[in-house]
């Protein structure tokens, strides 16, 4: 008896959500909730620490990151977030913000990059990277993505990212495209951005790093991608590896010139 009542409720609510007006009201309600959250986004606490860390002499070389070149010249932080990943002549690689930070930490501060890459998220130096990316991304808040595509390596990484995005495999035959290739999809109450299109790609790519209310942690883009791999039942990618950078290149270039970056955002 109980079960049938429950089933009736489920059917009734399914009808409710099928009505477009109510669906809009729901979306509006969620949007209001997000707005209320954003008012006191704890990502700001990471931003504050990130700014301090940038100027703090650390590592075996007792140096700051103030000479770090994130693509707009040594020490320039404003606006760099919306131009990454990009090609760097000194390393000969296309790098995203986090892999570039690893380079800077190693060359300037003497902190071994491979050890940081092996550190689990939320521990040790990875904690510092969270703070740094929060601050660096905040310095580009309100700017539109403008990733360069002039260098052949940048074009190559974009193409690889596009292929990786559309690649389906694993036990569930999943790919990024399974959840993020169509308009108007959602999982439970989470709207899924269609990452193959400009404005949605900017909304998706331009909101990470983000503070996750459910876990009280700040997730970087690398961590977000790592979790996408997990959800697809793929093996975890290496931190800062080429495939993760390629995916970011694809998302970033797709986002170019559309919607402003709001990172670090706040997520459920």
């Amino acid at each position: 008896m109980k079960n049938s009542t429950y089933a009736a409720c489920v059917v009734a609510s399914a009808f409710m959500f099928a009505t477009p007006v109510l669906a809009d009201a729901t979306a509006e309600g969620i949007a209001k909730y997000r707005e209320a959250l954003a008012e006191g986004n704890p990502a700001e606490l990471w931003e504050m620490r990130g700014e301090e860390l940038w100027k703090e002499a650390r590592g075996p070389k007792k140096a700051t990151l103030e000479k770090c070149d994130l693509g707009q010249g040594p020490g320039v932080v404003k606006g760099v977030f919306v131009t990454l990943p990009r090609h760097f002549a000194d390393t000969g690689r296309v790098q995203d913000l986090e892999s570039r930070l690893l380079t800077c930490m190693e060359t300037l501060q003497g902190i071994p990059a491979d050890e940081v890459a092996k550190t689990p998220f939320g521990k040790g130096e990875q904690k510092n990277i969270e703070a740094l990316v929060a601050w660096i991304s905040a310095e580009s808040r309100g700017m539109k993505f403008n990733l360069p595509m002039a260098h052949p390596e940048e074009k190559r990484m974009y193409e690889i990212g596009k292929r990786a995005f559309n690649y389906r495999g694993g036990t569930h035959d999943f790919g990024c495209v399974t959840c993020h290739g169509e308009d108007g999809k959602r999982i439970r109450l989470q709207d899924l951005p269609n990452l193959t299109k400009g404005p949605d790609a900017a909304r998706g790519f331009g909101s990470w790093p983000a503070y996750r209310v459910s876990s009280g942690e700040l997730w970087s883009m690398q961590r977000r991608l790592n979790d996408c791999f997990r959800q697809q039942r793929f093996p975890y990618p290496m931190y800062g590896s080429d495939v993760t950078v390629a995916l970011s290149s694809y998302l970033g270039v797709t986002a170019n010139g559309t919607v402003e970056s709001i990172a670090p955002a706040i997520k459920r």
């Binding site: 006191g40 704890p42 606490l45 504050m48 209310v213």
Partner: protein, 103 residues
Amino acid sequence: MAGPMRIRAASNGTETEVKILMSHDMETGQRKDASGALVPAHHITELTATHNGRVVLAAQFGPAVSKNPYLQFKFAGGAKGDKVNVSWVDNKGDKRTDEVVVA
């Protein structure tokens, strides 16, 4: 050592709006760690906000308050350049005090 608070205070002439973001784990004492042992409660118990030395808000916090809490309130009076001082104490005796100038 607790991280600094992020405080904003803005006056519109008649009242001052204060927004506080605190950095705190706010452990409830109900959660278990990976080995199944209870994580001890660790949360803010008291919070006091003063305006030029006068208490404008005193609050008691419990384990139901979220991690990295956000608090917003208004008080009558206050002018640009005044000082708003916020301090909290947690159940382990850890303290933190931060001050901001009203904008």
